[in-house]
């Protein structure tokens, strides 16, 4: 579904020097796969996601989504943002319908589709509220509904639950799992939580920093549909412990290198 070949990206850092965000990254994501990407901050995982979204130009390499080379944003991909990125002046209904509005879908149709998705993410009755009137968890539900409304093939999620409290985060993880079970979208999900990466992902892509590279791809052979009770299984504990060992090594290498 997604093929990334030899992807490199650098940009000008704050001190004026060039920062290598991604260096020669190769990655394949299968159709209907839930891929989680884990790594220390500064490993380029967000840059990788934005490159797939077509939001940042790359220096070399290419990204092919569903047989088509990525040259910019496209209707086959939709993004969910860490800070929600909702329009503060627009109602929940208008926010969810925003992607459809940009694509020229008529008012009646886009509102109908938006209402259905608002109900799906459990926000029925909040259609006329504005983002400031909602909790963080509810705001991200709006963000997810907005992405689903455009009926993408690929859902790109950039630490979507990083800005909500632990309890809300758990609820959102479970809701995302059940949405994905039904829709079977291809998902690329950035996170800095080992537990989240393992609970959600079919595979966990472990990235290392400076330059951003794929250190390892760890398969997660846990049965689907997944439930919270998995957290008590030995396999789950084993994989999260392994990921933490790898991450701690990276942090120590990084400290030694300085």
């Amino acid at each position: 579904m997604i093929e990334i070949r030899g992807l490199s990206k650098s940009f000008v850092g704050q001190d004026g020097g060039r920062v290598q965000a991604l260096s020669d990254v190769d990655l394949d994501v299968a159709e209907n796969e839930f891929l989680t990407v884990l790594g220390p901050s500064g490993c380029g995982k967000t840059t990788l996601l934005k490159a797939v979204a077509g939001l940042v130009p790359v220096d070399s390499g290419e990204i092919v989504v569903d047989g088509t080379k990525v040259r910019g944003p496209g209707p086959d991909r939709a993004m969910v943002f860490q800070n929600f990125a909702l329009l503060p002046w627009a109602t929940v209904l208008d926010n969810v319908a925003f992607g459809l509005e940009l694509r020229g879908v008529g008012r009646a149709e886009r509102q109908e589709r938006a209402r259905a998705l608002i109900a799906m993410v459990g926000l029925a009755g909040f259609e006329t509220k504005r983002p400031a009137e909602l909790s963080g968890g509810m705001q991200q539900r709006v963000g997810i509904a907005r992405a689903l409304a455009v009926q993408p093939r690929v859902l790109l999620m950039d630490e979507p639950f990083g800005a909500v409290d632990e309890q809300t985060r758990r609820l959102l993880q479970e809701e995302l799992l059940s949405i994905w079970e039904e829709s079977r979208l291809t998902v690329v999900f950035i996170t800095h939580s080992m537990e989240e990466a393992v609970l959600l992902g079919d595979r966990v892509v472990l990235m290392s920093a400076r330059p951003g590279q794929i250190a390892e791809i760890v398969p997660v052979p846990l049965e689907r549909p997944r439930a919270r009770s998995l957290e008590r299984s030995g396999k789950y504990a084993e994989i999260t412990a392994y990921l933490w060992d790898r991450l701690r090594d990276m942090h120590e290498e990084h400290r030694a290198a300085r």
């Binding site: 939709a78 800070n83 329009l87 002046w89």
Partner: protein, 253 residues
């Protein structure tokens, strides 16, 4: 609980009493008490001097401010969005914002004559640049992630401008528009006093020449009323456009 009296009414009443007292106690001809000024204002209104002047001045203000608003928004958005436009125009905008606009009065006078055109040009000189600068900063301070979000959903540059940048920037743009209205009123009076002697400026200049302070202050009262009316109008528009701004962040603007 006592009946609530609006703060603005208390403030106005206090100012009126202070004016009256200071005017009476000082007893100087250049600062007559409020009652004297009010009587003079009534006489002028009865003689029909005020109404025609109000009409003349308001037309100047309206045309001048409309030009300032349109030019200010267009140039401001372009400067806020496109770095090259900002690099090209920024120095002129800041220079003209700080330059005393009346310096240009002789130029307008020679180019446009002593009619309405020159006064409107002065109004535009006064009001436009503060609107440009506020609009440009407003556009620049729109969170980048909103633009990125819109682009990720395939927004064109036009959609980014109209659907994201302009609505997000409206509260701050309106702050500039309010400042612009105040400056437009100043520009109107100065234009009428120094270039084409019409409207309020005409009365003020004539009365000033006769050392008739009561008339000057009477006209000043009317001008203040016009200015407050204009600002009130802008605030009403502002409330309509930016009702979505949460009250907590509204106070800090």
């Amino acid at each position: 609980m006592r009946a609530r009296v609006p703060a603005a009414a208390v403030s106005l009443a206090t100012g009126a009493v202070a004016w009256e007292l200071i005017g009476r106690l000082a007893g100087v001809s250049f600062f007559p008490p409020l009652s004297t000024v009010a009587v003079r204002l009534a006489e002028m209104a009865a003689a029909g001097e005020i109404l025609q002047s109000v009409a003349d001045s308001l037309v100047n203000l309206l045309i001048g401010f409309t030009i300032s608003l349109v030019a200010g928004l267009l140039v401001g958005v372009a400067m806020g969005r496109y770095r090259k436009v900002e690099a090209a125009l920024g120095v002129y905008v800041y220079a003209l914002l700080t330059a005393p606009a009346l310096v240009f009065a002789p130029i307008f006078f020679s180019l446009l004559g002593d009619g309405r055109g020159s006064i409107i040009a002065v109004v535009v000189m006064y009001a436009t640049f503060v609107i440009i600068i506020n609009t440009a900063s407003a556009i620049q301070s729109v969170p980048a992630h909103l633009v990125e979000m819109a682009r990720s959903y395939g927004a064109s540059e036009r959609q980014v401008l109209l659907r994201v940048l302009l609505p997000a920037a409206t509260p701050m743009i309106m702050a500039g528009v309010r400042l612009g209205v105040g400056r437009a009123v100043t520009g109107m009076i100065n234009g009428e006093m120094f270039i084409a002697v019409v409207g309020f400026g005409h009365i003020v200049t004539e009365a000033g020449g006769r050392f008739d302070s009561a008339s000057v202050l009477a006209v000043l009262l009317v001008i203040i009323a016009v200015a407050l009316g204009a600002v009130w109008l802008v605030q009403a528009v502002d409330r309509r456009l930016t009702g979505w701004v949460p009250q907590t962040s509204r106070g800090s603007q």
